[in-house]
């Protein structure tokens, strides 16, 4: 593996890597604004300037500058080494790079930071980026001085509505062009560009267009300062009150990795941020997916109901027991859900297939939708592959509707409320639904038991490529909800069986043993503790 030296440390790099990329792989940060690992490098912020020592025998590249001599008050001509942007220079074998160890680099960073803050508005108290802002972090680490300008800062348009989702603030913008490059290179819709020159620079939307499409939230995500903000998150929460959980988007079968930010004081989820995963979503997420965090709170089933009336979970389980008294197993149908985790589906399969010995397994989920070739998948369920692995012979929901209409099935235990087809005939059957969200199935149900959403319990989801990914628990269960696999254990007990699972560890151990696990998948949980 070829290597180069950075501040005396040996850094391996892959051919084609820039200095900053190779350092980033090792966890060493060279400060930057405009560079992003998923975008091209324009080298316009000049924050990543490093000193590259010349090869032996070569003259260093020097610049002639004028420096103020403090004692005489006059400008004297001196030479300083020319610094190179680490985001643009490709790493070469044997290169010697000085970053934190060089006084010239420290001075350059201080000056760049001073220039970036020169016309910056005093917006920290009202800026959403506060607490996760690179200007703040780098000022404290690399600058620590007051700017020397005494004039009024330049004023630019503030709170410009770019589109249905994004608001732009010209004064906060550092003109890194990350948003421009993102829309151009990743979203393939070059609707943003820079106009004017010098200190009147601003970003604008192409005339006649708005910043719309399916990836507008990512412009806010790449913006290193508070210039681009989403209308969804603006002024909602301060980031230092938010905790983070590593989650998986439930919007479609791509299974983008996310950070779910929530406030534990009021147990609310506030936003998603994409989590980097080279193999799944690289660095991005789509707008629809970014907004699915709201599903943790909207349309939720939080209390048990029997025949539409709210009851306690215990009373509902009693109703389930009474409902299934003396019912022959061949007339019971079990509906797995492609929107629920492997653990939940496994529990239902155990109940149906193993404990009750039934062969009537069906699957449900959401209907297909929009797809594109960047991230969005047609299948809007996050765990279709998982259910397919657990129950390869399960039939579609339409088959269940038909079976209920013919009278072959008259008792149903279902997971999840969503259904891709019309389920009104199910009202003629006795349906127990364990669901987190309301939907056609919960409307048709006799007994509804409240399950926790994906954000409230740790669950495994298999995406369209067959990769198992775990979404960690973030919120505390709301209302009377419990994880679906636990509710199904209670249902099993109510029906007179002894479930083999009471703890998550047990579910996971048995889950690894069953179902064709893709052993080469990197996200595979290899131990129950994951």
């Amino acid at each position: 593996m070829p290597t180069f030296q950075l501040d005396g440390k040996t850094i391996p790099f892959e051919p084609g890597d820039t200095i900053i990329r190779a350092a980033d792989r090792q966890g060493i940060e060279i400060p930057h604004y405009c560079w992003h690992p998923g975008l091209s490098a324009p080298a316009n912020c000049r924050m990543c300037l490093v000193e590259i020592l010349p090869k032996a025998g070569q003259r260093p590249m020097m610049l002639d500058i004028l420096e103020l001599d403090a004692s005489s008050g006059e400008y004297k001509p001196v030479q300083k080494p020319k610094l190179q942007p680490a985001c643009y220079i490709a790493a070469a074998e044997g290169m010697e790079v000085l970053s934190d160890a060089s006084a010239n680099v420290a001075r350059a960073r201080r000056d760049v930071q001073e220039l970036l803050l020169l016309n910056h508005p005093v917006d920290c108290p009202i800026c959403d980026q506060s607490g996760e802002c690179k200007l703040q972090d780098y000022w404290l680490t690399y600058d620590k001085t007051q700017k020397r300008m005494r004039d009024e800062p330049v004023h630019k348009p503030k709170a410009v509505e770019f589109g249905p989702t994004i608001v732009y603030d010209g004064e906060r913008c550092v003109m890194c062009t990350r948003c421009v490059r993102f829309m151009d290179e990743v979203a393939k819709d070059p609707v943003l560009d820079m106009r004017q020159r010098g200190n009147l620079n601003e970003i604008f939307v192409a005339p006649g267009r708005k910043l719309d499409g399916h990836y507008t939230f990512m412009t806010e995500h790449v913006c290193p300062v508070g210039a681009l903000t989403t209308k969804d998150f603006r002024f909602k929460a301060r980031v230092w009150f938010l905790r983070t959980a590593q989650s998986v988007c439930q919007g479609c079968a791509t299974g983008c990795n996310t950070h779910l930010d929530y406030d534990p004081r009021n147990n609310k989820a506030y936003r998603y941020r994409p989590r980097d995963n080279e193999k799944v979503n690289k660095y991005w997420m789509c707008d629809e997916g970014m907004l699915t965090y709201k599903e943790a709170h909207e349309g939720r089933v939080l209390e048990a109901t029997v025949d539409g009336a709210q009851r306690s979970v215990v009373a509902a389980l009693d109703a389930v027991r009474d409902m299934f008294q003396g019912v022959p197993t061949e007339s019971v149908g079990f509906v797995l859900s492609a929107r629920y985790s492997l653990e939940d589906n496994w529990a239902l399969r155990e109940l149906g297939l193993v404990l009750m010995g039934s062969k009537n397994l069906y699957t449900s989920g959401r209907a297909d939708g929009y797809e594109d070739d960047i991230l969005i998948h047609r299948d809007k369920n996050s765990n279709t592959q998982g259910v397919r692995q657990l129950a390869p012979g399960a039939k579609s929901l339409q088959a269940l509707v038909d079976d209920v209409s013919t009278g072959r099935i008259h008792h149903v235990v279902a997971l999840g409320g969503s259904a891709p087809v019309d389920v009104t005939p199910l009202r003629g059957a006795k349906v127990v639904v364990v669901a987190a969200h309301r939907g056609p199935l919960t409307d048709a149900a006799t007994v509804v038991l409240p399950a926790t959403s994906w954000a409230e319990h740790s669950g495994t989801y298999v995406n369209a490529r067959g990769m198992r990914q775990i979404a960690d628990k973030a919120l505390e269960p709301q209302g009377s909800s419990k994880p679906a696999w636990r509710l199904l254990a209670d249902v099993a007990v109510a029906l007179g069986y002894e479930p083999s699972w009471t703890k998550l560890k047990q579910v996971r151990t048995q889950l690894i043993g069953s179902a064709g696990a893709d052993a080469s998948s990197p996200s595979l949980p290899t131990s129950p503790a994951e």
Binding site: L242, R243, L504, P528
Partner: protein, 197 residues
């Protein structure tokens, strides 16, 4: 700061001195728990060291490490005017095996300090004449200065009144909610372990 103390410790105890450093000018040695008492005797009796004043004994919890509880002893010599910090690490993730020999027979002043370390951090001292809680009341459960003990937990000896007794809605019972009082974004939480759901 002279290295005399650390050199003599290393010379005498060899491999039982696991680490030494002198960060910020304080000579520190991490020793293995089984030589705790021997190290204490040596520091007290050796005429060149003569550590006669026991300054402080405390516990610091590092739950990410194993062993997790670090017991820190500071000593001072009035005659020689030098100091040393001696540490030993005990206890696994569940605080099993968190035991050390008591040094009360060498320095009587450690009597109350060892009781405090037991009370606050849960480390037992073998041979202590009277190892019981000192700062907390005897019915207290748990050891408050362990990182796993939640700061907002209350254990009232007289139970708080219920809403029926109060006659008005009581929003919270603990003195403050789990994340009130400070922006906790400062300290990252430990990664979640696979709890039950």
């Amino acid at each position: 700061m002279s290295q005399l103390v650390l050199d003599k410790l290393r010379a005498r105890f060899g491999a039982s001195v696991l680490e030494t450093h002198s960060d910020f000018g304080d000579d520190t040695a991490v020793v293995s728990p089984d030589v705790w008492r021997a190290v204490g005797e040596f520091l007290r009796r050796d005429p060149a060291l003569d550590f006669d004043l026991p300054v402080d004994l405390c516990g610091v919890d590092y739950p990410d490490r194993e062993p997790r509880m670090e017991v820190v002893l500071h000593l001072y010599s009035v005659s020689r005017r030098h100091r040393v910090r001696v540490k030993a690490r005990v206890g696994d993730a569940e605080m099993d095996g968190a035991e050390l020999d008591s040094l009360v027979s060498i320095w009587p002043g450690l009597n109350w300090l060892e009781r405090e370390v037991f009370d606050m951090s849960g480390v037992r001292f073998r041979g202590h004449p009277d190892l019981r809680r000192i700062l907390m009341y005897p019915e207290f459960e748990g050891h408050p200065l362990q990182k796993t003990y939640p700061a907002q937990r209350t254990q009232p000896l007289v139970p708080y009144r219920t809403e029926e007794e109060a006659g008005l809605p009581l929003e919270k019972q603990a003195p403050f909610g789990p994340d009130e009082g400070m922006p906790f974004g400062r300290r990252p939480l430990p990664p979640p372990r696979a709890e039950d759901g």
